[in-house]
């Protein structure tokens, strides 16, 4: 009998560890955002990022995080706390990321995460926007002679990550083509790269931006190429917990501010001069007119600080993705005015 009680206790404590991690955000009224209050009290924004994806979120040797995903968190910190450096980064695997967010370990998840209906609606998350339009692709060895997905044959083995939309898209794709394949799914991206590099798989599939970034980690990056086809839509964007609409708005408009700043030609260099611009839209964007901050529960300089400290979206893209040689061509991630699909609601 005691034996069973013992087992039962073990189980109870196990469950306790799972659910008792944090008790936060119990009741929420619109005027009082617990996440905002906690962030101000703690003095830093708790941000979930990847375990190392160059261009999106990657730590250098001294532990400084850079990337377009990291810049979203920095923008939120600049808006809320006045200093873009007041961010605490938590590297998360694809598997851990949503649990970390829903359990309250982090407040913003900015980790190349695809916005899908089931994630948005079903598991207590809210996507606030898109900071990178991506699509799934395939990488192959150049000497394999494959130049398009039409060269794939029965029995092909494909390395990928678990816990991503990639696994699902891959199945849809191979099924629609009627090709039998061997999925080899690892928990961490580094192991996927190592296994593909060793020759375990014929192709490596994930988001195209990821392929471009991971290619730089191969033994001989020039031996590999990304096939031209894109097999899925992958809008990547920051995510917050469901149920705190004030915090959700802050993150959404921090991102929107960066994109709109680029649209109006405001950047970290000229933001001070723009305060005396003739264009009211620009004046609102740099906090010289209107009461935009008050609507979010912030002061009126919040967007000025984002542009001053982090820069606009174009600067962030150039610094992290274009200049590092990952994806020099902005493709769909160009402004709508320049032939891309970046289009955000106006800040007014």
């Amino acid at each position: 009998m005691y034996k069973y009680i013992k087992y039962f206790l073990c189980l109870v404590f196990g469950l306790a560890l799972l659910v008792g991690c944090e008790q936060q955000g119990k009741k929420q009224s619109k005027s009082d955002s617990k996440t905002l209050k906690n962030t101000i009290k703690k003095g830093f924004v708790r941000c979930g990022v990847s375990q190392g994806l160059p261009g999106f979120s990657n730590a250098d040797a001294s532990g400084n995080w850079t990337g377009v995903d990291v810049d979203v968190c920095r923008a939120v910190a600049a808006a809320v706390l006045g200093d873009a450096n007041k961010v605490k980064y938590t590297p998360l695997s694809a598997k851990e990321r949503f649990t970390a967010l829903t359990s309250g370990e982090i407040d913003v998840l900015s980790r190349n995460t695809t916005w899908t209906l089931s994630r948005d609606a079903d598991i207590g998350l809210t996507f606030v926007g898109v900071n990178f339009y991506d699509g799934q692709g395939f990488m192959v060895r150049k000497d394999s002679g494959m130049t398009s997905v039409n060269d794939f044959r029965d029995g092909i083995s494909a390395c990928t990550n678990i816990g991503t939309t990639t696994e699902l898209n891959m199945r849809d794709f191979f099924n629609s083509k009627g090709i039998s394949y061997e999925p080899v799914a690892f928990e961490k991206a580094d192991e996927v790269v190592a296994a593909y590099d060793a020759g375990r798989c014929d192709t490596y599939t994930t988001d195209k931006s990821g392929l471009a970034a991971q290619r730089t980690k191969m033994t001989n990056p020039d031996d590999h190429m990304v096939l031209p086809e894109t097999i899925s839509k992958e809008p990547l964007g920051p995510v917050v917990r469901q149920g705190d609409s004030v915090w959700e708005d802050i993150v959404r408009w921090s991102l929107n501010t960066m994109i709109e700043a680029e649209e109006y030609g405001v950047n970290s260099g000229n933001v001070d001069a723009m305060k005396s611009s003739d264009n009211p839209a620009i004046k609102r964007l740099v906090g010289a007119e209107g009461e935009m901050g008050a609507a979010l529960g912030l002061d009126n300089d919040w967007n000025y600080r984002i542009i001053k400290q982090v820069g606009n979206y174009g600067e962030s893209y150039k610094r992290n993705i274009a200049d590092t040689g990952i994806l020099p061509d902005r493709g769909p991630n160009e402004l709508w005015t320049k032939g891309g699909i970046l289009y955000v609601p106006p800040a007014r």
Partner: protein, 383 residues
């Protein structure tokens, strides 16, 4: 009366505390999940999983349900645990006996093996067998066949598949052979106890096991064909073997790492068991004229097993639980398939993690019950 209360009260309090703790955390989980807009339920198990798995013992693809994906992961875990336990036991027993060998070289190399593999973290060993050994293996097109039919490549071990005709007849003949062997053994034991005569059971058993199934080939209409794997080109430099049976390298690396690691502990259990037997037993047995083999088989081992079994059970449990490290090298076990991909796709962390915990608990308890039963069977029966 007082005595009774004193007996029951602590138990009642314990029960109450357990119920309260459980209730508190259930309530806590419920309110927290409700406030975050997460609902709780197991309905997702019947939904379509829509992801594929690399290696499965049962028919499975993404159009099956999550419950089926769970089963796939569970069977893969059991497969690794089963093979791992068998291999580690064989290696463990051999190395354990070798450590007591009077031959210096054998004794030292066994000791070296134990100390080396026991003192390196298991995850590291798994990575070693997977990444280091994998890189050393040839690509499919460059693999040299072993005996002309086995191909060990970076994409896995490809072996010929058996294609049976009238397999059921063959199976029944095997069953019949095993049953008759058990009967003969019991009979031989009786004969020896009553008349002191020894019947060569071993030879009879082996010939029965060979002759009966062989007869089915000759007169039972059973036939067996081999399907040898054939190299197939996918692209200019990509090849794969078709036909036959393919064992993924992830399975091989994981089983190897688990077996070699656990075998060191089993070897120590075996050594401890044998050394735990009084020297006088061995000398007495030798003095009545038993051969060294008989001494080990009839006198030492039956007593040593009583010491060996309980700690070895622990090692079996460890091996089974350690198999969850499979996720690191893409072997689709329960943790990778169910607590990994399925958890991700559904987002139902609490449900899936508790199912997974219950499953490991059940597997461990089952192995434990089995070993306890065996331990009881071989224990000294005091009359």
């Amino acid at each position: 009366m007082n005595n009774k209360i004193r007996k029951i009260l602590p138990q009642l309090i314990t029960l109450l505390v357990v119920v309260l703790i459980f209730g508190f955390f259930t309530f806590n989980a419920q309110t927290n999940m409700a406030s975050r807009g997460i609902d709780f339920g197991f309905g997702f198990l019947s939904q379509e999983s829509s992801f594929d798995v690399q290696f499965s013992l049962i028919e499975y693809d993404g159009s099956h349900s999550y419950a089926r994906a769970y089963l796939v992961g569970l069977l893969n875990t059991l497969l690794v645990a089963f093979i791992g336990i068998i291999i580690s036991t064989i290696i463990g027993v051999i190395v354990g006996i070798a450590r007591l060998s009077p031959n210096y070289l054998i004794e030292r190399s066994a000791a070296f093996y134990v100390e080396f593999f026991r003192n390196i973290p298991l995850l590291l060993q798994i990575f070693f067998w997977y990444f280091a050994a994998l890189r050393a293996l040839p690509l499919p097109e460059k693999a040299d066949p072993i005996f002309g039919v086995f191909f060990l490549t970076i994409k896995g071990l490809f072996v010929p598949a058996f294609i049976w005709n009238n397999f059921d007849i063959f199976f029944y003949s095997l069953l019949a052979a095993i049953i008759s062997i058990i009967l003969i053994r019991n009979y031989a034991k009786k004969v020896q106890e009553n008349q002191g005569k020894q019947i060569p059971v071993l030879y009879i058993s082996i010939s029965l096991l060979l002759v009966l199934p062989l007869l089915t080939f000759l007169i039972g209409g059973v036939s067996l064909n081999f399907e040898v794997p054939v190299l197939k080109q996918i692209a200019k430099t990509s090849f794969i073997y078709e036909g036959g049976l393919g064992l993924p390298p992830e399975l091989i690396a994981l089983t190897l790492a688990l077996a070699l690691y656990t075998a060191t502990f089993i070897a120590e259990c075996v050594r401890a068991g044998i050394q735990g037997i009084n020297k006088g037993q061995k000398e007495a047995a030798a003095s009545i004229g038993l051969t060294p083999n008989q001494v080990l088989k009839l006198v030492i081992m039956p007593q040593a097993l009583r010491i060996i079994i309980p700690p070895t059970t622990n090692q079996y449990l460890n091996l089974t639980k350690n198999s969850s490290l499979a996720a690191a090298i893409a072997y689709p076990d329960l943790v990778l398939v169910f607590a990994g991909t399925a958890l991700m796709q559904t987002g139902r962390a609490i449900e899936i993690v508790s199912i997974t915990m219950f499953t490991y608990l059940s597997i461990s308890l089952f192995i434990s019950i089995l070993m306890n039963w065996y331990n009881k069977k071989i224990a000294i029966k005091e009359k």
